[in-house]
């Protein structure tokens, strides 16, 4: 009992082959699109890798890039095959390759689906990575003289300006870390020394933020020092002053940005997956109907196409048996200590004299 059997006339088969040829070429284009989406995501992640802690998030764009390349190759081959399938004679060339090709494409389509799902699951890894990365970056903001960390100040400033955010969760994060290097603190000044002594870890903490936290929408010049001290500035109340600094945290800003990108990419990959699945189904029908035509012998006759020759369970059972026999052939029979020469009945024919005529059977008396 075949799965989804459809009868094809000759013209229908030709039409199917032509349509599949065009669809395969469109799939090559979608493969290129997948490749470029993967490259784009890789570039975007690399742009801000200084702010991300070491997490394995590069596997998503790498997966997309490889899937895109494989899609181009598979669909290019598929296009050539479908182009030849219009002519039954040319189909003979591809007959042996068709089934392996379809199996490969099936697994590849599964990989596309996995790629799409990965785009949605990357969110959590990214969340962790950004939280850690931003904390580190802010801690080493002042270390512009330490190789390996000297670029972090610029990276954080550019991030806060571009994404209009301040700190990890909010601007108050800056109050808990020392972001002014000791190189620029006047240790002979009593205030500086007092502040350093009042802190348990000897850090110079203040209620100030870097200039990159300043909000350009503010009607007044930016207040970055003594933010929580209302009396330090004229006509200022830090509780009501909402436009002075960026209120959003950079962790949320970056996460939203990357989640947006990955959701759009994930959607595109899902659509590509559906498209590839439909092309695969068409190629399977074409393959089975052409094979049946060859079996009938008449190239102009009708033939049946199907997805699976027998029901799903039977096909699974048959395949399992095939796999079992394959593995059995590879096992040496260890029943007789592994010696293949023991207990084999001789199959050599008895030699019955020079004329080699077997003796006549003596009839048994009844």
């Amino acid at each position: 009992m075949a799965v989804l059997k459809v009868t094809f006339t000759k013209t229908k088969r030709d039409k199917l082959a032509q349509v599949l040829w065009i669809l395969n070429w469109i799939s090559v284009v979608t493969g290129v699109i997948l490749l470029s989406l993967g490259l784009f995501l890789k570039v975007e992640l690399n742009k801000r890798q200084e702010l991300m802690a070491d997490r394995d998030i590069q596997y998503v764009p790498n997966m997309l890039i490889s899937v895109g390349l494989i899609a181009c190759a598979i669909n290019f081959l598929g296009g050539k095959i479908c182009y030849d399938c219009v002519d039954t004679a040319k189909f003979l060339r591809w007959k042996l390759i068709m089934l392996p090709y379809i199996v490969c494409t099936f697994f590849f389509t599964f990989c596309v689906l996995v790629g799409a799902l990965m785009c949605y699951t990357m969110h959590w890894e990214l969340d962790e990575s950004l939280k850690e990365g931003l904390t580190q970056a802010m801690r080493f903001y002042k270390d512009t003289d330490t190789p390996g960390r000297c670029f972090l100040k610029r990276a954080v400033d550019k991030l806060q300006i571009e994404f209009q955010c301040c700190g990890n969760k909010a601007y108050k994060d800056w109050f808990k870390i020392q972001w002014i290097s000791n190189r620029y603190l006047d240790m002979s000044h009593r205030e500086v020394v007092d502040r350093l002594r009042s802190n348990v870890e000897g850090k110079y903490l203040m209620d100030g933020v870097p200039f990159s936290c300043c909000n350009i929408n503010s009607p007044r010049p930016c207040i970055q020092q003594q933010i929580t001290n209302n009396s330090a500035h004229f006509s200022y109340d830090h509780h009501t002053e909402a436009l002075n600094l960026w209120t959003r945290g950079c962790h949320q800003a970056l996460l939203d940005y990357y989640t947006g990108i990955m959701h759009s990419i994930g959607l595109t990959v899902l659509i590509t997956w559906l498209f590839e699945l439909s092309v695969l189904t068409g190629v399977r029908y074409l393959q089975t109907s052409l094979e049946n035509v060859l079996r009938h012998g008449d190239p102009n006759s009708e033939s049946d196409g199907w997805l699976l020759e027998n029901s799903f369970i039977e096909t699974a059972r048959t395949n399992l048996n095939i796999i079992k026999t394959l593995s059995k052939n590879n096992h040496v029979d260890t029943a007789n200590n592994g010696d293949p020469n023991i207990n084999i009945p001789s199959t050599v024919k008895a030699h019955y004299g020079p004329d080699n005529v077997p003796p006549q059977q003596i009839p048994v008396a009844s």
């Binding site: 400033d157 300006i161 972001w179 002014i180 620029y184 200039f211 300043c214 009607p219 010049p221 004229f234």
Partner: protein, 347 residues
């Protein structure tokens, strides 16, 4: 003595018509490209129009947009004409339109050239416009409560951050402008009053700059106040600055930005102009060849095509005469009813 006379066989004429049809369609695409180039330039200029004192520089993108649209129409018509020109019978339909069409296309091609040259000539006007515009914007940076000027602070901050520049020619321009509004100055403070009094015009000037002048390349936290006072900050040299603030002025930064855009556009427009000229020459040859075929009477014979029938000087002279006679026709010769001799009639 015709200018650039070329003999065309029937096959050559048909080939020319086909090629010109194709080239005209390509020209429609380049016309659309010209339109988009003009539109892009317009959007770019309008992004920063608040720091320009006059919008005179907008005539460049407007010219490019108009020329692009005209190119699309003219070349679309040209494509249809050339498609028909392969067949002398169909050519009869277009015979009367061809000469005006070629003349129009010639003037249009001249407009494209003018557009290309304009792209290179706006430098001086733009410089002046930016100088005045930036000065105005800096002066009204503090007026975030005045309608019509409240956006200038945000625009200037964005400009300085994006183009990595500070002030008009340099950061010292901010020292001559009051950029902190009186609303945020504590008039009860003696230091504030002293500073206001020490200035002739009563402006609160200080050697400080807005936060948007801070350079992201600086190794130390930004110093925006008392910038020229070395002793106000630890380990700070006011003269060397050490990448504390953006070095360049915004006028030069914007000028470089727009000059770069318009130079690349100018090259593209020049290439389009050369292409249009080529198409025009081909259409002219096709027109004269087809007209000569009709004059000869035999559609399969060879014919001669040229750019001008007589030499350039003779053509100019005859055109001027035509214009003069046209002018004479419109002049009424006094009263046409006076001094007309009547036949002695019967009474």
């Amino acid at each position: 003595m015709a200018v650039c006379k070329v003999t065309f066989s029937k096959a050559e004429r048909e080939k020319l018509a086909e090629i010109l049809c194709l080239l005209n369609w390509v020209s429609v695409v380049t016309g659309a490209a010209l339109f988009w180039v003009g539109l892009f330039l317009k959007v770019e200029i309008q992004k920063w129009q608040e720091v320009m004192s006059d919008q005179g520089v907008l005539h460049v993108p407007h010219m490019l947009i108009a020329t692009g649209l005209a190119a699309c129409c003219i070349n679309f018509l040209g494509g249809k004409i050339c498609l028909d020109c392969a067949d002398p019978n169909k050519f009869l339909r277009w015979k009367l339109v061809m000469m005006p069409y070629v003349a129009c296309t010639f003037f249009f091609t001249f407009c494209v050239l003018v557009g290309a040259l304009l792209c290179y000539s706006v430098g001086g006007q733009l410089q002046e416009s930016l100088f005045l515009g930036l000065r105005h914007a800096m002066r009204h940076y503090k007026d975030t409560d005045t309608p019509g000027r409240c956006y200038l602070k945000k625009t200037l901050d964005l400009l300085q951050i994006q183009f990595q520049c500070c002030g008009n020619t340099g950061y010292r321009d901010w020292f001559q402008v009051q950029w902190i509004s009186n609303r945020y100055l504590d008039m009860s403070s003696s230091s504030v009053l002293e500073r206001l009094r020490s200035n002739v015009e009563g402006k609160y000037l200080l050697d400080g700059v807005p936060f948007s002048c801070c350079s992201t390349f600086s190794p130390r936290p930004c110093i925006q106040h008392q910038v020229s006072n070395s002793s106000a900050h630890f380990n700070y040299d006011a003269r060397s600055q050490q990448q504390n603030l953006w070095e360049g002025g915004c006028r030069q930064a914007l000028l470089d930005h727009y000059t770069g855009i318009m130079q690349s556009m100018g090259v593209a427009v020049l290439l389009i102009w050369l292409f249009e000229l080529l198409v025009l020459t081909g259409v002219r040859f096709l027109q004269t060849a087809m007209e000569n075929v009709l004059l000869l009477g035999d559609p399969d014979s060879e014919s001669v095509g040229w750019i001008l029938e007589n030499s350039l000087a003779e053509t100019a002279r005859s055109n001027v005469k035509i214009i003069k006679s046209l002018g004479k026709c419109y002049q009424v010769d006094d009263d046409p009813n006076l001094n007309v001799s009547t036949e002695p009639g019967g009474g």
